[in-house]
Subunit: 150 residues, 2 copies
């Protein structure tokens, strides 16, 4: 784990905690350019905005705003939880090169598919990220199921 990766994962965790403080689902994400600049950060907005598409990673992409395709190349998506099919697909659409995730014990997206499409996937196996989700799911299991289409 590089210091830079831990730094940006910490920013994603801060986003997840903002989500908790708003009564939302505690998943956060930060999109970082090839040269280490934060392009956008965000967190799941299902509760706050009634949104079905603004998962953490999607909210980070949305908050990055309209960018030329070149801005995403070499970029890394930091996310507190292994990305679902939608968020993985969004990373593929824009050509995000790397996904660094906090954990994949609570939920495992299709990391192999991302890798098969040339995306580097790194799991930082963060106890903080696992605790955020464990606490949330213990409290609101139905909300969590809704978020992953179950």
């Amino acid at each position: 784990m590089s210091e830079q990766d831990q730094h940006f994962l910490n920013l994603a965790i801060e986003e997840a905690k903002k989500g908790v403080s708003e009564g939302g689902i505690p998943i956060g994400a930060v999109l970082v350019s090839k040269d280490g600049k934060v392009l956008g950060s965000g967190h799941n907005k299902r509760v706050q905005q009634g949104s079905t598409v603004l998962h953490g990673e999607m909210d980070a992409l949305e908050n990055a705003g309209r960018l030329p395709g070149s801005a995403y190349k070499g970029a890394t998506m930091y996310t507190t939880l292994s990305p679902c099919d939608m968020c993985s697909g969004a990373c593929l659409l824009y050509g995000v090169s790397r996904v660094v995730l906090g954990e994949n014990e609570t939920f495992q997206g299709n990391e192999q598919y991302l890798q098969s499409r040339g995306v580097e996937v790194v799991n930082l196996n963060s106890a903080d990220c696992k605790k955020l989700m464990a606490d949330f799911i213990a409290e609101k299991p139905q909300l969590w199921n809704e978020d992953i289409g179950i």
Copy 2:
């Protein structure tokens, strides 16, 4: 092609035309439940809202609002254009069972991947859908490239 499929594709085309009338990208979509009820419809909002995540299919999912996972099972996503990785991923997340697309000559998403994950994919090969995109891309090629991350 069933009459029902053509009917709902026509609704998606109407959404795409709304997009044109707003100066936006002419891609529309309609999410229809197993029993033939429109759950949500929408169109690409890149120009109108500066959104990088609201492709037509995503906007339809967003406008359908928060639903239990069961609502998506057996549902069909009608879209005027073959869905990109993001929109395909969103259909997979929610367990949409079928994707009916207007055309895939302008752009071909990863239809094979959808099929490999158990989604039925039907291409209605619509001249209307092709013309909407051809006219748009001739006029605004750069905007189109931005929308598909090029």
